[in-house]
Amino acid sequence: MRHIISLLMENEAGALSRVAGLFSARGYNIESLTVAPTEEATLSRMTIVTSGSDAVIEQITKQLNKLIDVVSVMDLSEGEHIERELMLVKTRAEGEAREELKRMTDIFRGRILDVSDHTYTIELTGSRTKLDSFLVAIGRELILETVRTGVSGIGRGNRILSL
């Protein structure tokens, strides 16, 4: 099962490698990992998308909690949450495809950020599946390059990850 684990950790050199090292050393899978400082400068927030049986996920959260630099851990996918990922796609954009791409971008509520004679660069945010569907919708042959940030997540309503 896919899980989204959110954690707050000390914004210190080496903290990221402790988390990444834990996953590789124990053979846990990482689908994506994002990290950036929070409004509280001493803390970073990380979102890890992983998968595994319930027992594995339980171990992952326990092992993360055990890291001295990790302040708090939450399995977002255990409750109501929002997940978002940002994607930039550079496509071939020539002839009829130009109109079609613009239409698709509108449908998916994306934006065209950069235009050249032969290309578009499109920005899209959403869940992983939405981004995947967009790529399918425009078709492989047009895609020149994609870059995705990996999932960031946050709980809904009163679900708050804090110190």
Partner: protein, 567 residues
């Protein structure tokens, strides 16, 4: 008054009440060694190899309630120390390792003797630090000791670049330290403890399984109270030996790969299992699926939540300091009017297993020295009162089986990592902690050669360790596996070209004894132990064909045990 980073480092050790630092000097720690030289509170023990420094500090910690302290230089100094650090990590031993690092301005330039100490040690420390500002040294060392000793203990590394140890600042040693992300567990959850008590009352085939956590948390008194109050059988893991008195009738012996038949059978067939400071590892319960075939309720008490439900499903998890949890559990049980259930049938069954397994038995010989006989003699002569360190192999298992430990912290061995070369340096740490005690190092001719150079350290500090080498001319444990599982193909397990250990001991300034006849074992040992001030190296020529029994083959279940063939 301003002090250099090096002076601050040593001052911190003084403030922590550190008696011994085990180490080896080098370029990156010269300032620290200079500061060490100019004081006499903290004594330095100069080993002959950094691995031994760590094992010595480790032995010192295991036989006391203190953290071991190590000081090594950058590059090869710290890489040599890694095996020792990993050994301590696997067995949760409190330790602070201070390593020198190349100067901050040279880090990342592949400078002379530069390695990424924090990176290399990351998977085998509880935590580590690279100090980048002299003002952080004191608080970092304070944190290091706090982390090493609190919660589930473990080694902590503090890497100090050379320029930082030479810069100056004022010195204040913090009284206490708070780390916001780190709250070691204290009391257990009362509701869970009540549930545990409830289960214990209902049990008809109960079993208490206690590990190294009992020793580390100094909870053997509480464990003993629990076993006595309930009348339940108790087993110890290799790491837990001495946690419960081995000569007591309720003790069913060590369990696991080389555990007694009765301990393993009781473990497999119990209906309520209380795991205390133990972690169900592969050498203990063997095959997890096989273990799970028998339904049983499991109560698991441990300070580390990640140890709980890692390999087996747990019905009542209790996270907390073992001492506090056991105290509370005891008081709940004492208050309860209901008595524990009738377990007479269960004991009858256990006694039958005891009978069938024949306990620990071997066929003694008047021709050739049986290794088990050496350990039995050691036990009898020392009245069970010695500190026994061991290396890794068959001799380790025989020591664990045949020396009856009645007290915690007397049995010092590398259980988790299984590090050959541990025994002698660990014995140095033990002897320094307990200068008047009898310290015996049980080893093999293979293991002893992994840190034999420490005989020199033993002479320098006059450590009268008694080394009992069970010399079977084989890497015996490897040979045993090859005999059982690899068609007697003894690939590279024969120890050829062995040194004359008597001469070797003498060359290092000690006494060496060669013992070949079974009838000489006791007199030789008596003579050795009467030499209170000397290190005596006893080279016992033992039966090369002897195997360790019982044995649960790797990957098998606890009841698939192989008992000795010739009994």
């Amino acid at each position: 008054m301003e002090m250099t980073g090096a002076e601050i480092t040593i001052r911190c050790l003084q403030e922590e009440g550190v008696e011994f630092v085990f180490g080896y000097p080098g370029g990156a720690v010269l300032h620290i060694y200079d500061a060490l030289f100019q004081q006499d509170k903290v004594k330095h023990i100069l080993v002959r190899h950094e691995q031994a420094a760590v094992h010595a500090a480790d032995g010192y910690a295991r036989c006391s309630d203190k953290a071991g302290v190590v000081l090594v230089t950058s590059g090869p100094g710290i890489t040599n120390a890694v095996t020792g650090i990993a050994t301590a990590y696997m067995d949760s031993i409190p330790m602070v390792v201070i390593s020198g690092q190349v100067p901050t301005y040279a880090i990342g330039e592949d400078a002379f003797q530069e390695v990424d100490a924090v990176g290399i040690t990351r998977p085998c420390v509880k935590h580590n630090f690279l100090v980048k500002d002299v003002k952080d040294i004191a608080s970092t060392i304070k944190k290091a000791f706090y982390l090493a000793k609190s919660g589930r203990p473990g080694p902590v590394l503090v890497d100090i670049p050379k320029d930082i140890s030479n810069q100056k600042c004022g010195f204040v040693y913090p009284d206490s330290i708070a780390i916001r992300a780190y709250q070691p567990p204290g009391r257990g959850d009362s509701e869970q403890i009540r549930q545990a008590a409830e289960l214990l009352m209902q049990a008809r085939r109960p079993m208490i399984y206690a590990g190294g956590g009992v020793v580390l948390s100094d909870s053997s008194a509480e464990l003993t109270d629990l076993v006595k109050l309930t009348g339940f059988p108790c087993t110890n893991t290799l790491m837990g030996l001495g946690g419960y008195p081995a000569t007591d009738r309720q003790f069913v012996g060590m369990l696991g790969m080389h555990g007694t038949y009765e301990a393993n059978m009781a473990m497999q067939h119990c209906d309520v299992l209380v795991a205390i400071g133990a972690r169900f590892d592969d050498r203990v319960i063997g095959n997890v699926e096989h273990f799970a075939q028998v339904p049983r309720k499991i109560i698991h008490i441990d300070i580390d939540p990640s140890s709980i439900a890692k390999r087996v499903k747990v019905d009542v998890p209790i996270v907390g300091d073992l001492k506090l949890v056991l105290e509370e559990l005891l008081s709940v049980l004492r208050k309860n009017e209901k008595k524990t259930g009738d377990i007479a049938d269960w004991w009858k069954q256990i006694e039958e297993w005891r009978e069938f397994g024949g306990g620990l038995r071997y066929k003694n010989s008047s021709e050739i020295i049986k290794p088990q006989f050496v350990i039995e003699t050691l036990y009898n002569l020392t009245g069970g009162d010695a500190y026994v360190t061991s290396d890794v192999g068959q001799h380790q298992m025989w020591a664990a089986q045949y020396y009856k430990f009645n007290h915690p912290r007397r049995w010092i061995n590398s259980g988790g990592l299984g590090t050959m070369g541990f025994g002698l340096p660990a014995a140095m740490g033990v002897q320094l902690m307990h200068p008047d005690a009898t310290v015996a190092c049980v080893t093999g001719e293979g293991s002893i050669q992994m840190n034999i150079q420490e005989l020199s350290t033993c002479l320098q500090y006059r450590l009268p360790i008694k080394v009992l080498s069970l010399n079977n001319r084989y890497l015996g444990m490897v040979r045993q596996w090859q005999q059982f599982f690899h068609g007697n193909r003894f690939s590279e397990s024969y120890m050829d070209a062995l040194p004359d250990f008597v001469k070797l001991a003498e060359a290092y300034g000690h006494i060496g004894m060669f013992i070949e006849k079974p009838s000489d074992v006791e007199p030789a040992m008596k003579e050795a132990f009467s030499r209170k001030n000397d290190l005596v190296f006893m080279d016992f020529r033992t039966d090369p064909a002897e195997n360790v029994y019982p044995m649960v083959p790797g990957g098998k279940g606890l009841s698939e045990v192989v008992l000795s063939e010739d009994l």
